[in-house]
């Protein structure tokens, strides 16, 4: 007893058990998690984990707190009845922290996604590994994802594990990976598609069935001389017939009014296209006229008939170029961002009466974003994403030899570009490499960048190192490693999540750096995924998956609150992917948590402790007063 009292009166013991430590600790911890929350709202949850929640100093704070609580509980020995609530509460807290530690150390938390009709047992977990896979070689090492750069010194262990075959030289926390396509070697067509919202470089290799999809559009390449989309039987509106000057006759007017006063500033006879009009420093060029403007995948193209006369203008004002679309039948339906233009335009043509059509007749141009279907929500009529039936086809018209000859002699290289919607060609055009196809709608531009027929190694473009993720981005940019391969002078870039084939000392290897994938001891087959919505809305009321484990006959349902428990793992219905015309994908979160019951026990003890504490304090207070 005396020794105990001696220990208790030790200054260090006193400090560790004191409230004087507890209060600053709580304040620091509260500030730290406040910082974490603010980082999360400014960047994203992954970044908050990286810079706050998963850091060693943050875990150290918790350890200190646990030590403080344990010593505080010990310092009350020998216990008196009045200590009951206090001791139980603090034992509960320590148990809770212990359970969290066990989960942190031993627990598994990952994602498993399965397509309908398929099976899988691969779980992607949130720890990074570096893997080297050869013919008769497999090695895997954990590697920490940190928010700061690290050099070779911190990879000693890992490098010695791989026995000198590879050595990690440097770690960059955030990189902007080079476009995957620039890694591609060999024959293909590189093109760019962009508008105000995106700017994508894509690459289509020259082979049968070469295809890429981007959003709602599919791009495909038809190799040398192969038969592309048959245009004979289809209704095609060729470029030439569009330019036939039946519409070039006079009687078509562009009326330019002052926006504020409504006065007519100028009336222009549209006898010729490409006429420039200059009004007070603003240059207006008539780019194109359409007899029946149809919008296909954000592009204005000529359709059949004279239903919807459209005028495309290019306006140069204050050094800025603005595109504007004027519908003859819908004078109010201006499109572009024309803040800089002080004019309102009206297009008058014999093909359509200029006055606004009555409500019954009013139909937006064919292909225009549907407005009707989205007005129920109070956020307004949000245009829907277009259908997936939009194809951009590139046809290589000549033989490979012809193209090679053209390439070597520096002649223009023609590629036929078809815009196809719902199996109908809506536009076709022959473009040379380097040329671009400007489409009026929202300024979408298709450009053919380069074309290569001789196999050649494209120069490896380097990833760009970023200081931090972008604000408000939904996900973290990948990290990257600089890895030196045995026998080679220059290190290679290894981008997170992108496996690479490499040659090390005459052997082929696959090298991978990224999230670890673990195999479940069983296989999950997804029979069916179903989602139930609230009647008349697209808000999910519930969703569930019908699965079978291994080759079991019995089907099991996993839904929001009915997880599947098997071999120590628990599978929760977490999310789903529903894409039209594609099988549904169900996403499960897979969990193994040995700390669960410790945490539950701690919670229970804590709650009981607070009740006892509160009750006894009030008795004490009443006894005093």
């Amino acid at each position: 007893m005396q020794t105990w009292n001696k220990i208790k009166s030790n200054a260090f013991f006193k400090f560790l058990s004191s409230v004087k430590l507890a209060v600053p600790l709580l304040i620091i911890l509260a500030l730290a998690i406040l910082a974490g929350t603010l980082v999360e709202s400014r960047y994203n949850a992954e970044y908050a984990k990286l810079v706050v929640y998963d850091t060693s100093w943050f875990i150290l704070l918790h350890v200190l707190l646990a030590v403080n609580i344990i010593f505080a509980a010990l310092s009350r020995i020998p216990y008196k009845p009045i200590h009951t609530g206090f001791v139980i509460t603090h034992i509960g807290l320590v148990t809770l922290l212990w359970g969290s530690w066990v989960t942190y150390k031993e627990g598994i938390d990952g994602m498993l996604s399965v397509q309908e009709g398929q099976s899988s047992s691969s779980v992607i977990v949130n720890e990074r590994v570096i893997e080297l896979i050869g013919d008769r070689f497999f090695k895997k090492m954990k590697i920490e994802r940190s928010s700061t750069e690290r050099n070779i010194d911190s990879f000693m262990d890992i490098n010695s594990h791989f026995g000198g075959l590879i050595s990690v030289n440097h770690y960059y926390p955030f990189v902007n990976p080079p476009l995957q396509d620039s890694f591609l070697e060999g024959k293909g067509l590189a093109f760019n598609i962009k508008n105000n919202f995106f700017d994508e470089n894509l690459f289509l290799p020259i082979e049968s069935g070469s295809e890429r999809s981007l959003g709602p559009a599919v791009f495909r390449l038809i190799p040398f001389g192969e038969k592309g989309f048959s245009s004979g039987s289809q209704k095609t509106i060729s470029k030439k017939s569009k330019r036939k000057p039946s519409s070039a006759s006079s009687g078509e007017l562009l009326v330019i009014k002052d926006k504020k006063s409504g006065k007519v500033v100028k009336e222009v006879d549209l006898g010729t296209v490409n006429k420039k009009i200059d009004i007070g420093g603003v240059t207006i060029t008539v780019v194109k006229k359409f007899k029946n403007g149809v919008v296909v995948e954000n592009k204005m193209v000529e359709g059949e008939g004279n239903n919807n006369p459209v005028l495309e203008l290019e306006i140069l004002s204050g050094g800025k170029k603005i595109r504007e679309i004027i519908y003859a039948r819908f004078p109010d339906f201006a499109l572009g961002n024309n803040e800089l233009v002080p004019f309102k335009f009206t297009f008058i043509t014999a093909l359509a009466a200029p006055e606004a059509p009555s409500k019954e007749e009013a139909e937006l141009p064919q292909g225009h974003v549907p407005i009707e279907s989205h007005t129920t929500s109070d956020t307004g009529g949000l245009p829907a994403v277009g259908s997936r039936n939009n194809i951009v086809e590139f046809q290589l018209l000549h033989s490979e030899e012809d193209y090679q000859a053209k390439l070597s002699s520096g002649q223009p290289i023609p590629v036929k570009v078809l815009l196809i919607k719902k199996d109908q060609i809506v536009s076709e055009k022959i473009l040379n490499i380097g040329e671009s196809f400007e489409t009026p709608w929202m300024g979408m531009v298709l450009k053919l960048n380069s074309f290569q027929v001789t196999p050649q190694v494209s120069p490896l473009s380097l990833p760009k190192v970023l200081p931090a993720p972008e604000l408000f981005s939904n996900s973290l940019p990948p990290s990257a490693l600089l890895v030196k391969l045995s026998g080679k002078a220059d290190p290679i870039w290894l981008i997170e999540g992108q496996p690479q084939e490499v040659q090390i000392e005459n052997d082929r290897f696959q090298i991978y750096y990224g999230k670890n994938i673990i195999k479940l001891p069983f296989v999950l087959n997804l029979d069916k995924f179903s989602k139930k919505d609230y009647l008349g809305t697209e808000t999910a009321m519930s969703f569930e998956s019908q699965v079978k484990v291994n080759s079991d006959k019995e089907s099991i349902t996993i839904s929001m609150n009915e997880p599947l428990k098997r071999d120590g793992y628990t599978l929760y219905q977490s999310s789903y992917q529903l894409i039209p015309n594609a099988p549904a994908v169900s996403i499960f979160s897979v969990n193994q948590d040995p700390g669960r019951w410790i945490k539950y026990l701690g919670s229970l003890i804590l709650a009981i402790g607070i009740i006892i504490y509160t009750y006894m304090r009030s008795r004490l207070y009443r006894a005093k007063s």
Binding site: V23, T37, N196, P383, T537
Partner: protein
């Protein structure tokens, strides 16, 4: 005289709208059988509701008022459909809430209400269309002004859908298919009714309406069960009664009555102190009607939680009164409950009172309900502690030492309330963990909402520990309680309305910043003035 002028101005502004309506439109409004039309069981946003509720929601969104231009929402709704197109388009119904947007569109900054036609002539659509795509991509990147433009665009289309009757046809068809081409029975009946409204035979209109009403009633009973239809009339009753508003007024009335000796005597001497229970009765009534109609606890948005906090305050204050017999605590708590309830009723655009269903994750079970209810009711205890804290420091500042006022006693109540709050909050957070573990397989994920609740909990724990070692004296506890309450405001309001990230996204909204900032400023002013005086008198140590 000055007050009279202001009164007159207020009144004239109220009635000036009525004058703007042309006589034909007025006659049309008179013709609408609003009462019968109100009870149409329409299906909107995932639930059946009376047409009255639907019309009120639409009118509120478009014009910021339940009764635009002083007219009944249902009457206005149908009058807009059947009136000549030009009339509907030229009524100044759309409320441009942002002054900046008014200027951007070329209106004067005072021109709050504009017509659909006037908006059509502006660049609104051109401005909004690129924003829509960006909103889809990442709504958080939009600036406040851009969000305002989008909201106005939404108002524009909502009015457009009302005028074209598209909205009406959509909600009378259960499957949400309102296109006139789909000639459903409902559409045919609706068309007949609208046509009859346009004509002169009012009896015919009533008959057609009756047919439609019966049809919609059958629809509802088919999907929701035979007894469900009573909810429609109950909801209309609820809309008319405004129980929370009445409750707020009664809370204020009781608070004010305590200032007169007579009133106080009446409250204290009446049997069981029955007047005290009146506001609580209305609060309970409203609360249970909501629960009955929606089928879930009203804790899924800010409006619901504010009501639940008022509920908690009134229950706790009654219990406290029963234990400690301190009338001051009861009085202040009633003031708090009254303020909360009045707030919920007065800014419906920010605190949406709609009863529409919740996202899948919340449907599931009792765990969620208990978890949220426990956390939110802890805010009631903290709110009372905050009010009492202010009471102590203000009374002390004014040097009032009446027999009722003993700072140490009140400070002890603050301590007990904080204890209660910490208990409830801790248990609520743990229940949330268990619920998350049960549904997603993780106990704790540093989600902003749970993190901020934990920060608030830790803030109060710091106070309790500080008090234990004597750093926090009774006076300091009273002083710190409102400061710790800022953490509650952040967890409660800030996460959903300012940070707006994380898993608890169903409650996200915007607005109300003015109210919260005003509160924070007033609170800081009180704390500043009080501490300035105390520092100059070196009283903080006492």
């Amino acid at each position: 005289m000055k007050t009279l002028t202001i009164f007159f101005l207020l009144f004239s502004s109220l009635f000036s709208y009525a004058e703007e309506l042309d006589l034909n439109f007025k006659a049309l409004l008179e013709k609408i059988p609003a009462e019968e039309a109100s009870v149409l069981a329409v299906h909107d946003r995932g639930r059946y509701k009376p047409l009255e509720t639907y019309a009120r929601e639409k009118m509120l969104f478009i014009s910021g008022k339940y009764s635009p231009m002083g007219q009944d929402a249902v009457k206005m709704f149908f009058a807009l459909i059947v009136a000549p197109e030009l009339t509907g388009q030229t009524l100044p119904l759309i409320n441009i809430r942002s002054v900046k947007v008014r200027k951007m569109l070329g209106f004067s900054s005072e021109q709050r209400f504009v017509s659909l036609k006037a908006l059509k002539d502006t660049r609104l659509e051109a401005m909004a269309s690129p924003l829509i795509a960006r909103e889809k991509e990442n709504a958080r990147l939009l600036s406040a002004d851009e969000k305002d433009v989008l909201e106005l665009f939404g108002q524009y289309w909502t009015l457009e859908s009302v005028l074209s009757a598209r909205g009406f046809f959509e909600v009378i068809n259960v499957n949400g298919n309102g296109s006139p081409e789909a000639q459903s029975e409902e559409t045919v009946m609706g068309t007949k009714f609208l046509r009859a409204l346009n004509g002169d035979d009012q009896q015919l209109a009533r008959n057609e309406l009756k047919n439609l009403q019966e049809k919609l009633k059958l629809n509802m009973m088919k999907t929701e069960g035979a007894s469900s239809y009573s909810k429609i009339s109950l909801e209309i009753f609820y809309n008319k009664l405004r129980p929370f508003f009445i409750s707020a007024l009664l809370f204020f009335a009781i608070f004010l009555a305590t200032f007169s000796a007579k009133g106080k005597a009446f409250l204290l001497n009446s049997k069981w102190n029955w007047p005290v229970y009146l506001p609580i009765l209305f609060l309970f009534l409203g609360f249970f009607i909501r629960v009955y109609i929606t089928g879930f606890a009203p804790v899924t948005n800010m409006y619901g939680t504010m009501i639940w906090v008022s509920f908690g305050i009134s229950v706790f204050s009654i219990i406290f009164y029963a234990i400690y017999k301190n009338f001051e605590v009861l009085k202040l708590s009633f003031l708090g409950a009254g303020i909360f309830l009045l707030l919920t009723e007065s800014i419906p655009l920010t605190l949406s009172p709609d009863m529409d269903p919740i996202v899948a994750v919340l449907r599931s079970n009792m765990w969620l309900t208990i978890h949220v209810l426990t956390i939110v009711i802890s805010y009631s205890a903290f709110t009372m502690a905050m009010l009492l804290g202010n009471y102590v420091i203000i009374q002390d500042f004014l040097k009032k030492s009446t027999s009722d006022f003993n700072p140490n006693v009140i400070s002890h109540y603050i301590y007990r309330l904080i204890q209660l709050g910490v208990f409830l909050l801790t248990v609520g957070i743990i229940l949330g963990g268990i619920w998350a573990d049960y549904s997603w397989g993780r106990f704790w994920g540093w989600d902003p909402k749970e993190t901020c609740a934990l920060i608030a909990d830790m803030g109060y724990l710091i106070l309790l520990h500080g008090r234990f070692v004597g750093w926090v004296t009774p006076y300091r506890l009273a002083f710190l309680s409102p400061i710790a309450y800022f953490l509650v405001v952040f967890a409660w309001y800030g996460v959903n309305f300012i940070l707006a990230t994380g898993l608890h996204s169903y409650g996200f909204s915007s607005g109300g910043v003015t109210v919260v900032i005003t509160y924070v400023l007033i609170q800081l002013l009180i704390l500043g003035v009080v501490s300035y005086k105390n520092i100059s008198f070196k009283k903080m140590a006492a």
